[in-house]
Symmetry: C2
Subunit: 356 residues, 2 copies
């Protein structure tokens, strides 16, 4: 692990470091022969330019920071379903970044709050993608003054900050419409998420609009409310079973709740979707594995991550326009929990079953 610098390469190739630098950056103005020799030397030595020095000299980090909430931290607004997808978001962001020659650095906000992350990665990135809930709004604003920032999935778009979000309202509208339209259910309720969560609100809005469009009575607020977690779903199930009249269909605020709902409903002998239809939101992996497969709304997490990065890159390359708000479309995924009959994979007849 000896130090290997551009000087070494230059010496090996018998040229000046300038030429090496030029070749490495693919800049023109280097004789083909020389270029070959440099390349050969680089390969022979296994030389990789020092990103630090390179960045310092060009005053460009080549790195984008990704800030997301610390899941284990009880003080953060956790339970937010977005968290479940940070993996996908990260991948989407990473890919978009790499295409543009950027790396992605990640940081989870800690208890201490947003001030920390400034120190943690503030000095080593060109820009930041901040997941909603990871940093308090005032802190974000402060951050945004010194660094380009794109907010992901925040509700009310912070003033003056670029913003990317999934079309929660449209998605909720779509499922609800499917329920009342395609299936003709009239008694449909919404199992909401945390009152504070922007996504949860947007979904409820979509739900109401769909109801209104169908000429059905529009509730002022969710019939029941969970917290986007499995526990929330169970609690909601309890509420429904205990007090409410059983509705014909339930639009759950997210898949986790929907799944828990289905589980608890089924456990007490209520058939889903025959007696009660249930839909989710997010399209988590197991939504299609459970029985019945969950009809839900797909969130393009990867694309969300990617869009954040491209937006950020635009800013980095000098885009000075007014703050943008990008809405990434969601998609209705019809499976069976709504009452539809999806084509099931052919079942092979059972061959031999010994024991019982």
């Amino acid at each position: 692990m000896e130090r290997l610098t551009i000087y070494e390469v230059a010496r090996r190739a018998g040229v000046s470091i300038s030429s090496v630098s030029r070749v490495l950056q693919g800049k023109p103005g280097v004789a083909p022969a020389k270029r070959e020799r440099v390349l050969a030397a680089v390969k022979a030595l296994g030389y990789v330019p020092n990103g630090l020095a390179r960045g310092l000299a060009s005053s460009r980090h080549g790195v984008i920071g990704l800030i997301f909430p610390d899941l284990d931290d009880p003080s953060t607004e956790s339970g937010h379903e977005t968290l479940l997808y940070s993996d996908e978001i990260i991948r989407g962001a990473e890919r978009a970044a790499r295409v543009a020659g950027y790396a992605v650095i990640i940081a989870a906000t800690h208890v201490s709050g947003g001030r920390d992350i400034a120190r943690a990665i503030g000095g080593r990135v060109d820009g930041l993608v901040v997941l909603a809930g990871s940093i308090a709004e005032p802190d974000i604003a402060a951050l945004a003054e010194r660094t380009p920032v794109v907010l992901l999935a925040a509700g009310r778009r912070a003033r003056g900050i670029d913003h990317v979000a999934a079309d929660n309202e449209g998605g909720a509208y779509a499922v609800t419409e499917h329920l009342v339209g395609a299936h003709g259910y009239r008694d449909v309720i919404f199992a909401g998420g945390p009152a504070a969560a922007p996504d949860a609100r947007a979904r409820f809005v979509g739900f109401r609009k769909a109801l209104a469009a169908a000429g059905l009575p529009v509730p002022d607020r969710p019939a029941v409310r969970g917290d986007f977690s499995e526990a929330g779903g169970r609690r909601v199930a309890g509420q429904i079973l205990r007090g409410l009249a059983l509705p014909r269909a339930i639009v759950a605020g997210n898949d986790q709740m929907a799944l828990a709902l289905v589980a608890d409903l089924t456990a007490v002998g209520i058939a889903v979707p025959r007696e009660v239809a249930v839909t989710g939101f997010d399209d988590i992996q197991l939504a299609r594995l459970v029985s019945p497969p969950l009809t839900t709304v797909h969130q393009p997490m990867r694309e969300l991550g990617a869009r954040c990065v491209t937006l950020l890159l635009d800013r980095l390359s000098g885009d000075e326009g007014p703050p943008r708000a990008v809405v990434v479309p969601t998609a209705l995924v019809v499976r069976e929990s709504c009452g539809c009959r999806a084509p099931r994979p052919a079942r092979v007849p059972i061959a031999g079953r010994q024991q019982t």
Copy 2:
């Protein structure tokens, strides 16, 4: 976003840049009064040291690289269950790193293979944590020559490279023993993962040992084999239903397969666990949401990520000892798919059900 350097802070505080530097690094040897003034200036200016310059000067990036396979890339050994957890791994790694003052940079390997990532982040990290399957072994070896590398979840520990893995064998042993011991099942089969996957093999080994310990016949290879994916699980279900005699219990190579198995078995009217018990491996979130809740083996993904980082940090701080192989314990999670009766949450009697 004007440039703000240490000089500005020094001027504002009426001291030399050295003092500012010392204060910022928490080094001793600065008069309390001066220290205060510096801190005040820093805060007033909102100064954040440039990580690039800092790194260059101290020849320490303060960054750890995390390499994992690109999921969408068909050429990578995907379907590997570890991938499902990269999120958890990342979080574990990030936290451990942050505690030590390091940031984490991530990169997914692309089709092009491992050579790329060297350029991508090679020059900007102090060390690398490489998830198995993301880079071909020879490339890893090459990498490890220039940078400290820790391998995560690789099978045969590459020669001379630090290595961290979950106790797959022990976990498989534990579930299997539970099945044959606690439940007394004798006809137990193993639904394997990809033949090449090291984890899959280790789990099979544990399975066999448990069988041997119980005095049962030990198969040479998995009765059926999937690929760790949901599709794999379905395929396995097909095989079992079609050709094999139905066993009393199935130890699936991972949760995804187990879940798909349960779904397909149930779909054709086979009761789980009454007729066939099924167990998984990994303990993914929904393992406990499905019905019946899945008995499985918990993989401490977060801890795996953290251990990789701490191991790496040891190396970075000069540990020159022989390569280490850390095995992180797994844990049996008994739920219901094995035939156990977990305490179910109390069911509230149904209040009012209108429509049917």
